[in-house]
Symmetry: C5
Subunit: 95 residues, 5 copies
């Protein structure tokens, strides 16, 4: 999984039928210093993530292992909203 | 998923039997400023995307989760055409 | 999928039993200008591709969705030989 | 698999139900000289890895092949703690 | 698949139970000129590869398609030892 920040969302009316009702968010990849890393992904929101929240997303076939994504043509899912992380002895609170 | 722009198509007569009737489009990766990112993918069109449209594509095994791609040897599928996206408080209309 | 050019082949006698009879080709990645992109992949040939031909290959689990590759430990398959492609209004004939 | 060092952990209360009870660690990628390579991954701990230990992690669908990760939306798992490795005739003891 | 050279091995006693008896080798990626490409992978040896041999490895779910790796949390497998390869009209003998 990678850490990212929710920075937006996409709207689509012409899409595969299996995508109806799926919420798609834009997530920018973050470094461990919470700086943008220079890439982004569009991921299904499985946890009700809000704008600017720091999340974890899973990619590949693992992205289809939630109730919201099962059997759907999606390759990334937000599966956790982070409260805090600890890295190198430093604690970063996010909530 | 990644955002891309449909910039072309490919034609093949000698191909795996499972690819008969599959429409293959060339999609260039886009940044969130809608600039080409420097890479491309050839993806199955599952939604009737048109030339120059901005789309989402899914890669890997997830690309086989549409009716058009099930059990086929394809690793990328266009599964949505974007109407608009919102990023960092900015709304970008595409349709 | 990615576009590539067949530039060679590999020979192996000590290999996993599931690879017996599988033809393995070396494919260099191509840009849309048909220039080498700087990487290569070794892929199973599922379509009878010839030396210097421009092909499409699929990677990951999708590479196992042909008759030649089913259940085999291979992660890339050539599943189409290109006749032509159209990009940005330009038509490139290959056959 | 890749070698990495456990450098931290993440805490999340709002997450997919399948993630309850799963321990998520931050792993930085290592070169064979045990230097940070510049990337990181958040991985499920399947082996009781400790802070600063050098581990192996598996990514993609293979990450779901442990008892702790089966059917869960996770794309990386720590599946071994390294005691030593030998590279180019040099032995590096870690435990 | 990618070509690589076996440059070492790893030893682990604390590991997922499914890894018992699995031989893990360190493989450096090679260019077609047999130069190190700057990356490495730790892969299961399914073919009895020796130190310094040039091999092919498969990654992702395909890495679980050998008898040695079935259902195991591993994402790379050495599935062939190369005898020779031909590239651009040049033949390189390895055995």
């Amino acid at each position: 999984m990678r850490m990212g920040r929710v920075i937006g969302s996409v709207v689509s009316t012409r899409k595969d039928p299996k995508l109806v009702g799926v919420k798609l968010l834009i997530v920018e990849n973050l470094t461990l210093e919470l700086e943008p890393e220079g890439g982004y992904v569009v991921a299904v929101d499985a946890v009700g993530a809000g704008f600017r929240e720091v999340v974890l997303y899973a990619a590949g076939s693992s992205a289809r292992q939630t109730e919201q994504t099962k059997d759907r043509p999606v390759d990334a899912v937000i599966m956790a909203i982070l409260d805090q992380f600890d890295v190198g002895g430093r604690t970063v609170r996010l909530a």
